[in-house]
Symmetry: C3
Subunit: 112 residues, 3 copies
Amino acid sequence: MKLVTAVIKPYQLDAVKEALQTLGVAGMTVSEVQGYGRQKGHTEVYRGAEYTVEFLPKIRIEVVTDELEVEKVVDNIVAAARTGKIGDGKVWVTEVSEVVRVRTGERGIDAL
Amino acid sequence: MKLVTAVIKPYQLDAVKEALQTLGVAGMTVSEVQGYGRQKGHTEVYRGAEYTVEFLPKIRIEVVTDELEVEKVVDNIVAAARTGKIGDGKVWVTEVSEVVRVRTGERGIDAL
Amino acid sequence: MKLVTAVIKPYQLDAVKEALQTLGVAGMTVSEVQGYGRQKGHTEVYRGAEYTVEFLPKIRIEVVTDELEVEKVVDNIVAAARTGKIGDGKVWVTEVSEVVRVRTGERGIDAL
Ligand SMILES: Nc1ncnc2c1ncn2[C@@H]1O[C@H](COP(=O)(O)OP(=O)(O)OP(=O)(O)O)[C@@H](O)[C@H]1O
Ligand SMILES: Nc1ncnc2c1ncn2[C@@H]1O[C@H](COP(=O)(O)OP(=O)(O)OP(=O)(O)O)[C@@H](O)[C@H]1O
Ligand SMILES: Nc1ncnc2c1ncn2[C@@H]1O[C@H](COP(=O)(O)OP(=O)(O)OP(=O)(O)O)[C@@H](O)[C@H]1O
Ligand SMILES: [Mg+2]
Ligand SMILES: [Mg+2]
Ligand SMILES: [Mg+2]
């Protein structure tokens, strides 16, 4: 099994959620984070003054998924999160050695 | 070493924390997340109107632990988090290749 | 590629961010967490009364990085986060099998 982590623009969360539901992804975990990527902080004008925004609000999405589904999950997140502007996000994949559904104690693929 | 990640119901945090302390787990990291599992959003009545709750508040717990302890850590989290109702949570395990205690610079098992 | 996760004292975030920028790290994700380590909760006096602080506010930093850079990233985080007092933090490293830059679809090292 695999864990797909995506850090995306907050406004793209609904699109990503719908893409994952259409794909039949059974669960996901979402949290609020702050991030910067290659543009780092950008300069913004707010009430006439210039501010350097160092961190920008982003949303992190985590999906534990079957190895066989992982490419589809990544591709669908990337397609749904993309606006074409800098800061669209980053997706990474790590290996998961065990999963358990707490209510039933099921393990492995059955727990997804 | 292993990283155990658990997404549980907020009300079960105290039970899980106590179970881990009883086990002698030396540290944990907790954060607020939103999630959905297989029931996805459920319909809720609030002040007479019906709302579809898409994401439910959950707590994520992370524990870095010795390979030899990981099964006990998982089993104790699952037992303490379980209420028997849907949405009780999900636990997953990933491999950790290095750990450092910042204060001392200790690495590996000694850093736990 | 590797994912470096660090849980540090909130006041050390600026120092860690600067150390990583100096190193040329292109991106990072930051979130607010609560944690305890080996000292567990400590007793604190607040407005004349004693409280047991169970969880302390910490900052989690995540950096996806090239395998060749990971030791430097870890060492620089540890050096910048250290104050010498208990609770300075924990850093751990996990394996990343894939990374994608959402805007361009680039994968692997090119996506960092
Ligand atoms: N190397 C990284 N490690 C951890 N998180 C990262 C990394 N790079 C980016 N992120 C997270 O992803 C968010 C979005 O990154 P971003 O899309 O700006 O990446 P980028 O490589 O700079 O691409 P772009 O050129 O399109 O801006 C960042 O705000 C940060 O939270
Ligand atoms: N595949 C998944 N990937 C990431 N997070 C998940 C996944 N499945 C569940 N979660 C997280 O765990 C929380 C609890 O999941 P939940 O207990 O509802 O799982 P479930 O498989 O639907 O089991 P149940 O049938 O008992 O409801 C979710 O709200 C979500 O935050
Ligand atoms: N085993 C662990 N698993 C997950 N998170 C941990 C673990 N140990 C510590 N942490 C996180 O790191 C934070 C800082 O830990 P801390 O520096 O207190 O570690 P420690 O081993 O107790 O070292 P010290 O003796 O210097 O206090 C904790 O508040 C917690 O959020
Ligand atoms: Mg960027
Ligand atoms: Mg469910
Ligand atoms: Mg400690």
